[in-house]
């Protein structure tokens, strides 16, 4: 095809021109002029100029381009193919807007401005202390919250049995009632212990709290359990579980959006990781609520401190836990030592043990009898009755 190239006048390069009306093409020669690409039909003196600013290229012009396909707004529909690497490289200088970098920036510019505006808006909302998710959470009706809570409990405790030893359940209810009263709740929190070795406790929507056998076993006193319970109630009062679920739904939508709708395993992993645990601020708020509840209920807050100390020891045994201390800002939980200090700084007040010795023993034995947890729909029926 470029055999004609040899017979071209100096400075001109062989090219193929198509008018965009049919799929036929014809031989032309081109050269880089002062203001644009000059196109001369083969064996003709007539020259048409495509101004540099009017050009667009099939692919961004890279330094190693071997040829170039051009279009021009000066002649809509027409295209010009120049199979010459030197021409393509020289064109980079004359029409720098055709390079990959320039193209990227052109398409990125509105997004950069948009992102800056969004960041500004978020910062303003944050600075004003308004949490839209929290506001949305507070509008959820109580029945919705309870149902959300039931499905959360059902999926979290799947495969674990409920601890139902009578004396233990009575002790737990007594403790829950004492703290719920202190919180000024009309209906006390529903607390349940599951036969689960993990050391953990969760607040779920609708004023429900799940504790594990591992936690009851590792706790040194009833005051420690009361501390943890007050902390989880704090989460409940602050609507953190509801907020968390709304945030998770929003996050799932955002991840789908970001991953182009095909949010695969990677996206789900990220989502899962992002969902675990509350924010540092939320933990701090729950701690403050816990201290208030304990004081109101006349239970010593030392238990909460002791429990943090226990968690600290477990964390210290974990290598990554240690190294994480260098990344305070990245952590979702406030450092345990900081939380323990918060408890120690509180003024003393008159307190009685959270449970007497007998009841504490009963609570420790709550998992001596276990049962299958009721199915969520059975729960619903019971509520109706």
């Amino acid at each position: 095809m470029p055999s004609n190239a040899t017979s071209l006048p100096s400075g001109e390069t062989y090219a193929r021109f198509s008018d965009g009306k049919s799929a036929a093409a014809r031989d032309t020669s081109v050269k880089l002029g002062l203001t644009g690409v000059e196109i001369r039909e083969a064996n003709s003196a007539r020259v048409v100029t495509w101004p540099y600013a009017s050009l667009s290229a099939g692919e961004p012009l890279r330094t190693h381009a071997i040829d170039v396909l051009l279009n021009s707004t000066a002649q809509p529909g027409a295209s010009l193919f120049v199979p010459n690497s030197e021409f393509a490289r020289a064109l980079r200088k004359s029409a720098p807007h055709l390079t990959a970098g320039a193209e990227r920036w052109r398409s990125a510019r509105p997004w950069v401005y948009g992102a800056a505006a969004a960041v500004g808006l978020i910062a303003a909302v944050y600075a004003a202390g308004w949490s839209p998710i929290r506001s949305l959470a507070s509008t959820l009706p109580q029945t919705w919250r309870e149902r959300l809570g039931e499905s959360a409990v059902a999926s979290m405790t799947d495969g674990y049995k409920l601890c139902v030893a009578d004396d233990g359940v009575q002790s737990l209810n007594a403790l829950s009632l004492r703290l719920s009263k202190a919180a000024g709740m009309d209906t006390p929190f529903k607390v349940a212990v599951y036969d689960w070795p993990l050391l953990n406790a969760f607040a779920v929507p609708g004023g429900q709290i799940i504790m594990t056998k591992g936690l009851i076993e590792k706790a040194g006193s009833a005051d420690e359990v009361a501390g943890v319970l007050a902390h989880e109630m704090g989460h409940g009062i602050e609507l953190h579980p509801e907020t968390g679920i709304i945030r998770a739904i929003g996050l799932a939508a955002a991840v789908e959006l970001m991953m182009g709708g095909s949010g695969g395993a990677l996206a789900n992993m990220g989502l899962l990781l992002a969902q675990i645990g509350y924010t540092r601020t939320a933990e701090h708020e729950a701690d403050i609520q816990a201290l208030r509840l304990l004081k109101q209920a006349a239970i010593a807050n030392r238990g909460l401190g002791d429990f943090f100390k226990r968690v600290q020891t477990i964390e210290d045994e974990d290598k990554f836990g240690k190294t994480l201390k260098q990344y305070n800002l990245l952590r979702t939980h406030p450092p345990t030592a900081e939380r323990e200090k918060l408890v120690r700084e509180q003024a003393d007040y008159l307190a009685t043990p959270a449970l007497d010795a007998q009841r504490w023993q009963d609570l420790k034995g709550i998992c001596s009898r276990t049962a299958q947890p009721p199915k969520p729909d059975e729960n619903a029926k019971q509520t109706e009755l």
Binding site: E59, A274, Y327
Partner: protein, 438 residues
Amino acid sequence: MLITDDAAAVREPVDISFKGDTAGVAGLGFINGILKVLTLGLYSFWAKTEVRRKIWGATRLNGEPLKYTGTGKELLLGFLIVFGVVVLPVLLAGVAISLISAGDQRAIALFQGLLYLAFFLLVGNAVYRAQRYRLSRSEWRGIRGALVGSPGRYSWAYFWTLAAPFTVIAGLAGVFAYVTGPAVGGLIMIAGLLAILWVLPWRANYLRAMLTRDMRFGDRPLTYSGTARPLYMSYIFAWVGNAVIFAAAIAATASYVIRSGLYEKQVARIPPDPMELLPIAGIWLAAIIASAVVTAWYRAMQINHFARSTHFEGATFRADATGSSLMWLVLSNWVISLLGLVAGVAFAGALMYVAGGLPSPQAFQSGAANMLAIVLAVPPLIIMTTLAATITQYRGARYLLQRLKLDGLVNLGVVMQSQSQMPKRGEGLAQVFDIDAF
């Protein structure tokens, strides 16, 4: 205007070639990965467009490149619309269902069943629309491609060609289960599902014919003349081969489960040690690789069959794909994807190690490692997998285009610009279903 006289009415050969630049593609994949990370994934629409421009630009007819004229913005808009109309309502409906049913597994299963059915109905639509968008954004010498039929018609064909035989089999199995007991019904269902696989070559040819006959280059149609019969010879080999491979894999798994004591553990509800499950993963990995190998021959024959059944202006396409070359493409692309993943995990691990140690499972459970893990692990993973995916996609396109020929002469001067309307937005639905050709 420059050109005014009539195009010469000469019939000429059209030579298809692929003039690629593999190093450039790797560089593009790498930059796209970085930009995806920096934009939290939003750049993926532009990344896709950039890769297509590269592949289209490398595809040459008589030495002149194809041009891809789609934009990232069109893809984003198309996606946002489908996101608002399909994804978000489904997500919210899922939440509402679990809320209303309070975690009742039957209600959730019913919802998911209906969802799969709806998705299956939509997949054909997505395939057609994506193809239509891509063709409308493909140009050669300024002449556009087009797909002029109805997505609904194709979508319905896509659905019933599989749903109809399935309904017949399920109905038969149901009747026998009712009359003679569940064992016979079950057997008929399994045999029926194996038999349904024999529909696939016919279905592939039927759908291909439908799609090809709707295709235009400029104002000229492509035609399709193939029947499914030639596909069945190679399909017998693939079907028998796969049946033997998967039967062997099932037998090997069952034998291992019984001999290693995993079965007793399952009965006693003792969770198995992950290391004990490794041989099972090995068996199935080997089965999947063996299946890809025996299927490659059929797929190569299918590519060749589709090509020689497709005609344009009196010329006929020809592809010379072979089982061995396709097998090599599939296996080497797997290796590249795996290397990308391994490199991503290795870089992520190295970053975390430099940051002060690898996280323990407890650290993840306590939530302490969340942010750190996301900040450190996700970027290298995304960059390396994007790089690998770009290379494999490019290799797939190169494989096909290097083997595709057009036999016969075409009068290009009579092929005029397409007058069909161009879709305004990109292939949103196809992205949601992750259907992507190049």
